[in-house]
Every structure is written in structure tokens, then in C-alpha cells.
């Protein structure tokens, strides 16, 4: 009862700040809106043009099928949606959560329209054994990964209806241990060479699907994020905890202001956030300052 035995508990000060909606701070910088298309809106005649994503053809006219911005590439016309779920591409690094266990496969929530699948045959068995998966392995599935567990994986295949098949056949992928999952809109994630980073004193996996995993940097180098071992004994140090909380706030602030999330922007935002104490990071004015200074540091205007 360490927390309750303190005598001062009766008058421990609570901090709650009420603010008014009229003083609301918006993190979105006002900028000129491009012309928006709504679903069904006419774009133009089909002749001499190529129809791309987000459009359909109706009586020889091209029309928008999603709400978004028109994009021209030579003859190709497409509508880039304002808001979309994650569309998987082969080779993407994703972070997902197991939602269901089926025969020979796990269902994974990966922020896409449909749940992804992780086949039993596309995971590395503990110990790195290479063999055909037997019925025994099928029975052991829940021991490897159970509902609610988080994994990092790579997209192996995307089927025609949109479901993704994942694989974790690399030591850097696998079950995730202690840490925090932050969710941002998938289109805000910038695809880069590596999605595994160790910056600002913590490690992170920036899933292309908008799920970002923040975790304390493992002490021993060989013990990566992969594997199936549970690690419930580890007690994360307060310093790392603060860094993770700070990074979480930076990611949320960047996402709220519709800035791309990748290592450079995160390092910049983290540097700005360093001058604030962790407790004030949730305040809108602090978030605004983080966003403004980050934009300034990265030389962005809008």
C-alpha cells in the first residue's frame, strides 16, 4: 500500500484546468484550401484522359467517387481522398493487434478496412525451428500470440478484396512487449527506408498503417522487438517513461496539425518539447507551441 500510506493524501492537490470553448486553440494553421471534390461530382469528359483512383465513369464523364483533391499527372486523373483508411502495400512495416485466433491463422487489426491475416506458416517458431507446422503447433497458437497482443509485421501480400497477409519472418518483427501504442491517421506516415528508430532515448516503430509503437530501448542488443517472450518483470525507468510520454505528445500534436510523421519531424518536435515539463504537455497552448516551433525548425510554412 505504498501509495496510500502517505499522510498527505487527504489534501493532495488536484490539478484540473477548465477552459472555455471560445478560447479554443486550433493546431491547424490556416492555409488556402484547394478545390474539393465530393463523391459524384463531375470532373470532365472521359475523352483523352486516363481514369485513376477515386474516380468512376458515368455516361462518358469522369466523376469523383471519394471526397478529396484532384490530382493530374499528364493524362491521368485521380482524386486523392481527404481521409482514408490504410491501404497496404507489399513490404510495408505495420503494427497490429491480434483480434481473433482462427485455424492456422491470426486475425490482426491493422487500421485497414478489413482485418489482416497472419498465417501460422508465416511466423518464426520460437527457437527458430524450420519445419512444417503440425497440429501441435496449431494448438500452441494461443501461447504464441493471444487476443489483444500487439505485433510488428511486414505486409507479405495484398489480396484483391483488400485483405493483407502479414509475415513476421525476420527477427526484428514479432510480439511487442512493454510500451505505448499511439494511433495517427495512416496517410500522415511518411514511408522511409527504415521504420525502426532509436531516437531521443527511446525506440519506436512507425507502422505505415498509422500505428506507432513507443518502447524503452532494450538493454541487450540481441533482444530485439521480435520473439514471443512475455516480459512482465521489466519495470521501465521514470526517465524513459517521461521520454515516451513526451514523444507521444509530440506525435499527437503533429497529427493534429496534419504534419507528416517521420523520424526527422519527430526529433525536431521532441527537441522543442524538451523545454516543457511532462505534466504540461497535454495543454493545447503547449501543443501549439510545439507545432509552431517544429514547423519553423523544418522550414515549413503551411
Amino acid at each position: 500500500m505504498a501509495g496510500l500510506d502517505r499522510e498527505d493524501i487527504g489534501d493532495k492537490s488536484v490539478s484540473a484546468s477548465f477552459r472555455l470553448a471560445s478560447d479554443r486553440i486550433s493546431l491547424l494553421t490556416p492555409c488556402e484550401h484547394p478545390e474539393l471534390y465530393t463523391p459524384g461530382q463531375d470532373i470532365g469528359p472521359e475523352t483523352g484522359l486516363l481514369r485513376g483512383h477515386g474516380t468512376y465513369q458515368d455516361n462518358g464523364r469522369i466523376k469523383a467517387s471519394v471526397a478529396g483533391v484532384l490530382e493530374h499527372v499528364n493524362k491521368l486523373i485521380m482524386i486523392r481522398p481527404l481521409k482514408s483508411r490504410y491501404n497496404g502495400e507489399i513490404g510495408d512495416v505495420v503494427v497490429g493487434r491480434i483480434t481473433e485466433i482462427q485455424q492456422k491463422r491470426w486475425r490482426v487489426d491493422a487500421n485497414a478496412r478489413l482485418d489482416a491475416v497472419l498465417l501460422l506458416s508465416s511466423v518464426n517458431l520460437p527457437g527458430g525451428e524450420l519445419r512444417r507446422r503440425s497440429v501441435e503447433d496449431e494448438r500452441m497458437m494461443r501461447q504464441y500470440l493471444s487476443e489483444g497482443d500487439l505485433i510488428s509485421a511486414e505486409v507479405q501480400n495484398v489480396f484483391s478484396e483488400g485483405t493483407m497477409s502479414l509475415h513476421t519472418r525476420n527477427l526484428k518483427y514479432g510480439k511487442l512487449s512493454q510500451g505505448v501504442l499511439v494511433t495517427v491517421p495512416a496517410p500522415l506516415i511518411k514511408r522511409s527506408k527504415t521504420h525502426f528508430h532509436t531516437i531521443c532515448g527511446i525506440s519506436l516503430i512507425i507502422g505505415t498503417n498509422g500505428y506507432i509503437w513507443l518502447y524503452p530501448t532494450p538493454k541487450s542488443t540481441e533482444e530485439g522487438a521480435g520473439g514471443f517472450a512475455r516480459n512482465l518483470e521489466l519495470r521501465v525507468e521514470p526517465r524513459e517513461r517521461e521520454a515516451i510520454a513526451r514523444m507521444q505528445c509530440c506525435i499527437n500534436a503533429l497529427a493534429e496539425s496534419r504534419m507528416m510523421v517521420y523520424d526527422t519531424s519527430l526529433v525536431a518536435a521532441f527537441e522543442v518539447a524538451n523545454k516543457f515539463s511532462v505534466k504540461e504537455l497535454l495543454k493545447p497552448e503547449v501543443k501549439l507551441e510545439i507545432v509552431m516551433l517544429t514547423q519553423h525548425m523544418m522550414g515549413l510554412n503551411c
Partner: protein
Amino acid sequence: MVRLSPEEKIYIIHGVEDNIREDGRSQTQYRPIEVETGIIPSAMGSARVKLGNTDVIACVKADTFTPTWNKPDEGKLQLHVDLSATASPWFEGRRGEQTSEEITTILNKAYESIKLESFCIVPQVKCWLVDVDISVLSCDGNMYDAIGFAVKAALATTMVPKIVASEEDEGEKELQITDDPFDTWTPNVSNIPCLVTLSKVGDSVMVDATNKEEQCSSFTCILAVTETGKILSTFKVGPGSVQPVTFSKLILEASSIGRSLHSELLSALKKENGLRKREIHGFLN
């Protein structure tokens, strides 16, 4: 509700114990709270409260009724909660109805013990029956506290045409609504409580748990605290139990938290009232 993995839970529990919660808050720190009153022009009083990502609207409607013989000079306060299915897939359909009924019952119990003498128009003849409809638009934990704030803010800014009792005519009083549109009645909210939810995680106690933190808590109780720090009612939600000693400490803590919440909320409402020209943001964004 998203199911967490055991590792995530351990991380959250240790975080609360170390007084650095997942989002950097301390054990007794609330997320930023935003209040706005008067968002629904057609209602007699309304308020929207955003507590982090929890978003609640309260809407007041007043009616009159003849009081019962055992409480001739007390009005009534009735609450009704509607959980929007957009808040969580859990609130969809039948299950959502059941959950909202459950919460309605809990809330009505919590507000039951308030003495509503200020809601009386003419003793034994007419009293105010105040309905508060609460809509939960999004839920990221700590719904009860947000509802408590919204109810209090909405009631504090309610304006109802005043009803006056005219001269006694052969022993019967005649009730009339005033002609003056600025002559209004506002309920006295000094005895309307704030709800304080305390969650016990590991060996520590925290306020304002998020959805994730609620999943890790071993005991959650809600206390209705008045402006003077008195406890009106307590109730417990979810599974779990605590030692009597711990519970009495929780009560003490809730009392002091409740007091400061009241003063913060009232000063925010006062500030809003003092604004000369106010643009109403509403609940669409």
C-alpha cells in the same frame, strides 16, 4: 473497446505507481477540460464538456408538477443518458440501450439525495421538474466526471420563464408565467454535486482514467461531492473491492478533489458569463 495486451497493462500500472502516467500526467491530474454553455438555442439550458477525448452534452428542460405530500416543497431532478453509437461500437443497439439505462439509474441515484428546495414554486402546489438529457458523443474514459460537470454547467446557465403565484382567490393560488422575457428563474446549483471518479491501479489511486487506464484499474468508485466537500453519495462500478481503510482515504481524497473541481468549474462559468460577445462553437467540431 480495444483489448490491451498484458504488457501494455503492466506498463500503465507501473506508470501510475511511479506517478508518471502513460500521457505524462500525475495521479491527480485531469486532462484539459473544455466547457461551453448555451450551445443549444432551443433548450432552456445546455452545456458541452470535453474531457480529453470524452465528449458530453447536457440539455435541460423544465416542467412543473404537483409535489407529493411527503416532500411538499421539493422539486425533482431527472437525468437521462443516451450513449451515442459513434462513441463506441459497444453502445450500438440493444446493448447500448441497456448500458445507458444502467448509467441513468446510477446517476439518478447519485443525485437523489440532493435537497431541491430551491426548485419549489409554491409549496404543496407546484414545483419544478427539471429534466436533464445527457448525450455522450465520444468516450475515452471518465464519463461520469464529464457528465457531472456538464449537468452542473447546464443547470447553472438554465433560464426558465418565471412563474409567479398571484393573489389568493378563495383559497386557490393562480399561477402565471411572467410577461417579461427577462424575468427568468435559474436553478440554484450550489448543492448540485460534481462527480469524482477514483480508480485504484496497483497500489495507487488516480483521477480521470482514460479508457486504457480503466481497463487496468482494480477498483473504481464514483463519489458525488458538494461544493463544501461533503459526500452526497458513493457508488462503485465494475468489479473489485478495497479494504475499509483504503475506502475512507478515498473519500477524504475525493472530498478535497471535489472542492477544487467545483471552484474551478464555477470560475470558468463565471468567466464565460462575463464575456460580452461570445461566438458559440457548438458540438459539431
